[in-house]
Symmetry: D2
Subunit: 337 residues, 4 copies
């Protein structure tokens, strides 16, 4: 098996702050392995506990994404698949912070209140890739604890529909900043194509994050990431979907959070009905008893919920089993690296 | 008093479907009167009860706006003022419709449900500008009733911040499709400037609409509209504001609807504190007892609420009394027309 | 015309803090005029700017309501009408306050955040019934301004369905603490009956309030109030409705606020369809163009929106024109007082 | 170790449909094992696919709970613990249904819309306790699949505060119908005490449910359940909490769903800060990176979210390690049964 492998650095000219409206920095054939570098959501400007992001970062130059990558032959009405082969922190430290008026447990610009902002605080995590852990160090006490690495990308998506250009921090039907821990190595993400080439961008690597990304940032890190990019002609995907070894997953991104839940469940019910040849009410019933519903983010300009269904209940494979083929490509690639 | 008056037609090359990302079609000096034409939200394609919008309109070519108009000297950090002098339906008919999965009392793409869409139905209103009425004719019975005209623009705004390009049907901090009946002749709208020239676009004229725009569309009409466009240097306006003869008004646009309410009230409390030299809690108290809070739209991709405060309780005038000067310009213009 | 008039004091044994679960303190025939006294929402314990409610009030003994009043013959499936004849502050002062973690622009117990509470502050208004004004006095400056009186009751309702007992501060399908300025003299309120006698309670008088009751309290006052209580056999009323000289109004109480909006508009569309013999889509259309949608409260444990429709567009009268008869009773009563 | 064991049947006189307002049917000492029977949410009235719940059930006699059980010595300001030892379906069948205007993907009474209800449909599951599975049988096709049993109780709680009486289908700060799959055997649930004796009621057994309980009902079954009931004097618990072998969990119940999320995360952050002696921002940070956030229910009159934190990161045990002692009691009980 011959695999085409290309690289994509995170040089400033390859970073964007929006989805849509940008020319591709790389064009690949379906099935290509892309080794890409991503910066952290602060653009690398926060390096220690005294680097308050409100001082060292400049809106709207936050949350850089690497790309966009055009996929040859991708047209509106198709689906692109992004299979994560490897996501690996490149520094021995990572950063998390509170940020004024951002997060789930603070007044924000849309949940507008008369409170002053919560204090802005930076946490610097030590990252040990060999031991596959990162270390939380409390700022107000000596407490410290190791957490397992579970690297993932908060921001993955394609150019939006309707000629829109959307900030990289805003998730939506095009993907973007969904901030779900499920976007880890071994997972395939599916996106509906809105423009020729699809124009995939990836960024916002996290050493790990909790569900909901409660304080607004995860353990943010620059990443060396490997993906396989592929194309499924003629398959529509209205909202981003994920597939892991064990689950198919629909995402929903909206406000209020119950609408994000509804979107994700509605998509999963329809998808499951298709895969099991059930009518919609039977699929609704089965998803209701067998599904999982974790939060993605409840902090960004839109919220994201996931709806998960166990693959062992399925009798057919989604998207003609592309996930299995992409895993095979990943295995070959890793064995040759 | 000499007034500069320019015209702007609704030719296809002057219509856009987004805010942001477009070059100006007209550049004017502050204080200029602009006579502009706008198409209806269907682009004029729905002319009778058999023209179902899902058949005769093509997404995303909905809700055309005329513009953008650049204002000389407008820079980020400034505010532009758009004073509505006259809004006049140009045809003797207007259209309202339900639209599949759009509206407040139907499942939508984000309030996703398993229901089939409600029936798509078109209502054609007779418009009599001389008598200043439009006529509702029921589709399922002989019932018919005249409603007073109260023409307004659903969509008014500027280019968004952060290099975003946003569909004209989506309201936000840049204005856009707020769909409030307060955007009528005699009102001044204020927008914070995000890009040089501000880039004002206007569309979506309504012969009238109820608060909330419940079914998703108003009495939609092409308009001959006259505005005065002006510039307030060095004044920031975080969310669109309105001023009428009797009220100052803050808008808030967000989901869920209570966040739209919070944004509008938060802005009004701060604005009132400034205008009355009150501390924020005193302003919070006074707005709580004297304010009004009507819905704008509860159907679009974002919802809009208004927060109104009576001007007779104010001791100073907002934006250095530009509203009074714009009304004087309007009076002069109308007397010379 | 002979009118039966009975009195009801606000003695502690006639005050309750819940809807449901209490025996009637008065039983009246339909058509009876009731002269009743109500305490303010603080139970009269806050008398000056140093009486912080969190110190002088004791949860759950807040927001006392006078009643319940049983209506002879009222059974589940009927509707009771409460027509407000007169609402008159009984003291020459009234109180408004912020309260920790209560209000629209603060973190609350359900919109839970890590912020400390906003400062608790008391405003004491001078009330001049002769001149029909109350005076706002800023706490942090010399600013002072008179506001017109517009007396109303924040809390009016009946015993809930399903054997529930609900705190008087919580609005719902049974009415309760809807906090809409529309509940003023001249208005008739309609409630569906859930238990024999209906069990009406009234409290929480306001000298006036803005829409939304933004800071969480209005200009709170003890009231001398006169109502006519009546019964409409066999008429169901799923959510509280109001009728004034000019409008019929449906209320909706729920969270998020768009659900309160949906409930109110859904009820108004159905009601209008009935009154105009329209099918539901024609009524949806007409309400969308002719209706108003002000906020009631956006601060209580449930939010309330109103949906208003102008009576001059109706061809029949709601509830067999009981509003007109109740106004006649009110006129007779007032002429004899 | 001597264990006191008492039984409690599900006779009609021991079933209630509310939390609060009822006398205890059993009073136990702290540490008592209670073997109790519960009916399913339909009161056993739905036995086959032709028993539509809207016909065979009568509102408000839905969702019966067994109890209330008074705990000797429990006073407001204390916490009661309910440890689930065993939950076992008692019939060889179980039921799930859609129900008109109830569920996450349908218009409801509060998310009010003009759609007709979705079809009402009943699914009858075969339950095999020996093999610990239940079988889904599609209604519109031959498809059938086994799902593992994961028995739990949807409804567990205490009498509410403020003299309220709340329907058993409504979750809140008192617990009630939270509908989380985490309420399974091996879990301890903690509730703040609002009235003397606490007055615990339990019902709504599910053979299993997905997160969110999307269609509105789970695999509903009558249960033979064993709990240990205990008392923690002087410990307050503002919202229900759970503890399993691996996680501590806070619940939040509110609308919109982001408020349920906020409540649960706010409680978990405070709880974690206490257990790790962290300041609140350090706890906010740690929970953000290490927590899980699954949906409980997104269908009931209030929504429930969970916030989970891994116990292996804790340095102290919650509630003085009562969970370990209750598990020991459970082990002893099971060895003696």
């Amino acid at each position: 098996m011959s695999i085409e492998v290309v690289g994509l650095t995170a040089d400033p000219e390859r970073l964007g702050y929006v989805f849509g409206g940008r020319e591709p920095v790389l064009t690949v054939k379906p099935g290509t392995v892309v080794e890409l570098a991503t910066e952290d959501c602060f653009g690398g400007a926060v390096r220690g506990v005294d680097d308050l992001p409100s001082r060292v970062c400049t809106f709207p130059y936050l949350n850089p994404v690497t790309g966009p990558i055009a996929v040859e032959g991708a047209e509106p009405g198709d689906t692109v698949a992004v299979h994560f082969v490897d996501i690996r922190p490149v520094r021995d430290w990572a950063i998390s912070t509170t940020f004024p008026h951002f997060g789930a447990l603070t007044a924000t610009h849309t949940t507008a209140m008369l409170h002053d902002a919560l204090p802005e605080r930076v946490w610097r995590y030590e990252v040990d890739v060999d031991r596959w852990v990162c270390r939380f160090q409390a700022r107000s006490s000596e407490f410290s604890v190791e957490l397992p690495l579970d690297p993932m990308h908060g921001t993955v998506g394609v150019a939006p529909a309707a000629n829109e250009v959307i900030m990289s921090i805003t998730p939506g039907a095009h993907g973007g900043n969904m901030d779900t821990p499920e976007m880890r190595a071994g997972t395939t993400a599916y996106f509906g194509v809105n423009v020729p080439g699809a124009l995939i961008s990836i960024g916002d690597g996290h050493c790990r994050q909790g569900e909901g990304e409660v304080c607004g940032t995860a353990v943010e890190a620059a990443m060396a990431t490997v993906v396989v990019v592929d194309l499924i002609k003629g398959a529509t995907t209205p909202w981003p979907r994920l597939e892991s070894a064990d689950h198919i997953m629909s995402t929903g991104t909206a406000r209020p959070l119950e609408d994000a839940f509804r979107v994700s469940q509605h998509d999963l019910v329809g998808w499951t009905a298709d895969l099991l040849s059930l009518d919609i009410l039977d699929a609704y019933q089965l998803v209701s008893q067998a599904g999982l519903a974790p939060a993605g983010n409840v902090v960004d300009t839109n919220y994201t919920m996931l709806a998960k269904f166990p693959k062992n209940l399925l009798t057919t494979t989604p998207y003609a089993d592309i996930h299995t083929r992409l895993r095979a490509t990943a295995t070959t690639y890793l064995s040759q690296r």
